[in-house]
Symmetry: C2
Subunit: 340 residues, 2 copies
């Protein structure tokens, strides 16, 4: 696109103020001291003309950036949009603008998007990678500063901020067991995604025999079909534990379709807590991830690196809370009284 209405440059400001461009720059950046008279003249001119420094040109010359990039699998997932939202807020406080990019959960798109984002020479990147093979999508020699969040890449060489998936999933499994659910079906998109893998491992570690996993994929129609088939065939599990937001959403609707009532016919729990889970009846028991904390921590780590922090990669794991709600409060099997 051609720029037709060329905005005011520092040169115009300098002319109007009757000083050199260097002086304007000095006033705006407060590096060298400038006489009050000149400073005032410059500020006037800046105000009158509505001048704003061209950040690209500034970076080009000074090497100082004020742009960061964030790459997420998807922006419609409330978990990711909350992440970006928080990030945008804290980045701004540190004087950074944010280039936001999503990749539709596709590795190829991610690679292309990473490339295009690199063309802006951002000071750093925060990435929620769509799969483990992130490093393959970066230039071999010296990529930009990156902090990885949420999903764990195969390459341990990145700074990382994620949650205690296994711990939280295990705790949920224990809760289900304590409620008397003996058989539990665990459903998630795919074990290729580290989160899902870790969560499944966490469940399996706690309850090694009475649980089964079904991988439903990423595509809504496929999830629905696979899960439905699984629930129809074979013995019905006591409880269903879904490991990611999309699967949860579809599973919840599916149970209604199949007229399986919660929690009487089946217990229902989710990894990832969203608004609607508190609104439905009964409300849904869920693992609540500290998304905002994750964004804060990721940004803080990136800032540390940008400030020159040079140590080994840091791996941070945040712990999750479990919100126990009606969907896993099992009615007692042997009704002695109505007291249950």
């Amino acid at each position: 696109m051609l720029d037709r209405t060329s905005p005011v440059s520092i040169k115009i400001v300098a002319e109007r103020a009757g000083v050199s461009t260097a002086t304007v720059s000095n006033v705006l950046n407060g590096k060298t001291s400038v006489s009050p008279v000149f400073a005032e003249r410059v500020r006037r001119a800046v105000d009158d003309l509505g001048y704003v420094t061209d950040s690209s040109a500034s970076r080009l010359r000074s090497g100082r950036h004020s742009l960061a990039g964030v790459v997420v699998p998807n922006l419609t997932n409330p978990m990711f949009s909350a992440f970006v939202s928080t990030l945008e807020c804290v980045a701004r406080q540190d004087g950074f603008d944010l280039l936001v990019v999503s990749c539709d959960n596709e590795a190829e798109q991610e690679a292309e998007r990473l490339r295009s984002i690199r063309s802006w020479r951002p000071a750093g990147l925060i990435v929620i990678p769509c799969d483990g093979a992130l490093s393959a999508r970066l230039p071999k020699g010296g990529h930009p500063r990156i902090v990885v969040a949420d999903r764990i890449p195969d390459d341990a060489g990145f700074d990382l901020v994620a949650v205690e998936n296994a711990l939280a999933a295990g705790a949920m499994a224990s809760h289900l067991a304590a409620q008397g659910y003996r058989t539990c079906l665990v459903a998630g998109s795919t074990l290729e995604i580290s989160n899902v893998r870790e969560r499944w491992d966490g469940v399996a570690a706690v309850a090694p025999e009475s649980v089964h996993m079904v991988e439903c994929g990423l595509d809504p129609a496929g999830i629905h079909r696979r899960l439905r088939d699984r629930l129809r065939q074979g013995p019905r599990p006591d409880a269903l534990f879904t490991l990611d937001h999309v699967t949860t959403l579809i599973a919840y609707q599916l149970l209604a379709e199949l007229e399986i009532s919660i929690p009487d016919d089946m217990g229902f729990a989710s990894f990832d807590d969203t608004e609607w889970m508190r609104l439905v009846t009964p409300p849904v028991t869920a693992v609540r991830q500290p998304v905002e904390d994750m964004a804060h921590a990721a940004w803080a780590q990136l800032m540390r690196r940008m400030a020159g922090g040079d140590g080994a990669p840091e791996h941070l794991r945040l712990s999750c809370a479990i919100e126990i709600r009606g969907s896993t409060l099992r009615p007692k099997r042997e009704p002695k009284n109505a007291a249950a």
Copy 2:
């Protein structure tokens, strides 16, 4: 932030390929014809070094931008995040990256964010303004190309893409009336926001006497309090129609708190359709806004302007669908049989 690991420049590529920088540029931009041998050598060097053109420097010299900005009141609102998500997707298809900024629904923040986004000299801006006074927050002389979406600014001089608020709200009012709801309370954040104003006008035009409006503000605690007070005092309305997502969410929870059951005690309808409204029991009747279409249209309009389109401001209004669900299906007042 200082850039320490300086990425490869076109100069390095040129050296490696044994050609001039101009030739590298020509190969990459395909302007002038380059001999196959040289072209191949250049491409090799580019691949080996993982070179990506510096977009800022390129723009600086050529005047061609590939950056656009989007300003929204908030990213956690699913309506806005869907808007940004769609925008990001279509912009990418046209080769643009997106600078995303939210302003927390505050005019002051919006002004500051507009300023900082301008420093990147984007090819254009898409803005969902937080109130009507958008023009006051732009530089007097010649602001960047802007397309306004969703909320209507006081100044009619902008390109605009929004929805038929009054029409849709009126249709919902008719639906409520047809269902036999005689008195209706309408709740929204504030009439300062054009959407809320237009929606209320739409309702009032259809049902001039049996409806009342309550402005609840933008702050969750305040919304809860005002709405609760309003529902407790005076006669209880037959139906509640909420005009924006936040109000809807709080109102829905409030009804549960007050043990007002839907739709028996009160009908409930929302402007703005979100996922959970289909999941709760009964599902919530809602006006569904074509958010994705809005994003598409806004981007298309911006592209037209960027391509040099010069006519008068265009105002586009998209129509909404009404999703009638259980929350407004009133049980008949005079039960003849159980058939109702």
